[in-house]
Amino acid sequence: MDKNLRGADMVVRSLIAEQADLIFGYPGGAIMPVYDALYDYHDQIKHVLTRHEQGAIHAAQGYARVSGKVGVCLATSGPGATNLITGLADALIDSTPLVCITGQVAAHLLGSDAFQETDMVGISMPGTKWNIQVRRVEDIAPAIAKGFYIARSGRPGPVLIDITKNAQVDFGTFRYEPCLGFRSYKTHHPVDPISVHQAATLIDKAERPYLLFGQGVILGQAEAALKQFLDKSGIPAASTLLGSGALPQDHSNFVGKLGMHGNYAPNLLTNQCDVLIAVGMRFDDRVTGDLSRYAKQAKVIHLELDPSEINKNVKATVAIQGDCKESLTLLTEAISPKIHDTWMANFRSLEKQEKEAVVNLDLTPTKPGLTMGEVIHHINKYKADDAVLVTDVGQHQMIAWRYFNYKKPRTQITSGGLGTMGFALPAALGAQLHDYSRQVICVVGDGGIQMTIQELGTIKQTKAPVKIVLLNNNYLGMVRQWQQMFFDKRYSFTELDNPDFVKLSEAYGIKAQKVSERADLKEAIEDMLIYDGPFFLEVVVEKEDNVFPMIATGSSVEEVRLR
């Protein structure tokens, strides 16, 4: 207990008490006292100055996603705080634990349109799991304790704590007490044994059961429980975008990836299974396509922590609410061991069709232009088993996800729900700073990278050895693909006249290389991955390639197209 501590010091001491050893931020008037306090604690807490607040929050997201810890970022009031909004919305929809601390004008100025005053609690409300304004020094520690508890427990999410300047400069007594729960917020829901029994009965009777897993498996640390369930049940399993990595892709039950640009078999056979088991996923529209024609023939078993997700998009025949590690374990005990060879063969035969029609052309092309797929194919050959893939949003994201060989949990970092262009570069920085020795590969497009390209400055300053792979087609490729397919090739504002990215990287002091020929690709990737330090590799890819398979908006999963 400290009798006479300044509010700003309390903020930093509270962060230290929550084991936040690395935070991201940008200073400014209303948060300056906290920055002043950071000066005294630099041996206990490391702060990374990004080049934009959006960079800070995406870096905190990358850090949180790779580590499982709460990401922390700091920003000043007004524009500093509003620059966090995209990251908050992104973290909310992708269940990423964050605590964002923003400065605010002094309490006596609130509501007066003071310099850099924004109603941050109001603005951030729909984009946060919880938020609070702290106006008194004595409320700082309890708010931070509650914020961390809320951010990391239950279904994780972002929290914003807005602290007025007077609270930061006032003095008071500091005693940090971690939050252990409160009555309006229940984080644990005991798994109902009756629904487990009902689900087991359905599974045992099923002839064509099929399991879909999402990020809930990773958030609930249920990877081993999932594997045990699959080993015993023999059920084919497919992952969502954010679920990738929860099960090693070489597991014999793994049949591929779901969604608009996922694999052929996993999408198509959704409408042929008789029991559909969804684990820690929320039936996003990019997974289901047209809901009225989605798995109508199947009995649905939904294992989900968040009750508001149950029956939201797809009606569950049996819902098992609760922690999926617990429910999967109970379910594994309750079912009989089985194999589903004939059913599994359906997946494998469609997989072969996809391989011939799409995959081979993507990974080992014969036409002159480089494909995004062959770049990922080479990365797979040389990457470490626990390499982290960070992607932005667009064609490169889908291609990288489709072809990257995921072997470990928490190796997939991308903006799934919100689809935030500009996410990758700062998120890769955050992931890399969590562990300098880890291989972090950031795959980006030429559109997205320019939304947050200023973070090359932070990479330079921190020397984070991020491997940046720019797949440059001089287009906003995904939008262009849609224009080609659905808008009569009217390429409205999708072509980019880009800068010289190599020179740009070199100006930031980052080693860079450009590859345009197939003959140089393999070596360039190998060189990049062994390089000790940040590296920027620009690969000029075919201008007008498309991502397939594809389920067009409004189509059913069974209408997945290979061409």
Binding site: G122, W130, S184, Y185, S308, N311
Partner: protein, 166 residues
């Protein structure tokens, strides 16, 4: 579409009402009426929301409301599941009063709660249909102002607030 009454039991937390109403805004759903006040447990608030939607939507609304961190409990009822009351005030100019008003007040069980040199105020409690009926009649008296409260309601189900707040 049906009329539902949603009860929300919350902590007394700044901004909680906003957090709840944006759940409706987001889906483009209009709140028919809303009443908020402290419950019989100090520090615990009770919000009553009246909304016209289908059952699937009301279930999702309640689930999302309950997900709000400072919401203790939320549930919904059809009209048949609640006992509810509304209050209406009618301000009439004295200049237009006549002998017919006495009968109207008696027939509707309304009462005069204020009488000023220029106006009188009538009060009527009852369901919307009833207060609206009186409004139509009083229009003939040159009504100056009319205000109606949201629904104040209790559930018929035998559950008490104590089972949620402890």
């Amino acid at each position: 579409m049906k009329r539902y009454t949603i009860f929300v039991i919350t902590e007394n937390f700044i901004g909680i009402l906003n957090r709840i109403t944006i759940i409706f805004t987001r889906r483009g759903i209009n709140i028919d009426a809303l009443t908020a006040s402290e419950s019989r447990v100090p520090g615990v608030h009770r919000i009553t929301i009246e909304v016209t939607v289908n059952e699937e939507t009301v279930i999702q609304l309640v689930n999302q409301i309950e997900k709000v961190i400072d919401v203790i409990k939320a549930f919904y009822h059809e009209d048949t599941g609640v006992v509810y009351q509304e209050l209406a005030l009618y301000k009439l100019p004295v200049s237009r009063l006549d002998g017919g008003l006495e009968k109207i007040i008696r027939d509707h069980h309304a009462k005069i709660i204020a009488a000023e040199p220029d106006f009188v105020v009538l009060e009527l409690t009852g369901h919307k249909e009833k207060t609206r009926e009186l409004l139509e009649i009083l229009k003939g008296y040159g009504i100056l102002e009319f205000a109606r409260s949201g629904r104040v309601a209790v559930a018929k189900r035998m559950l008490t607030i104590d089972s949620f707040v402890n």
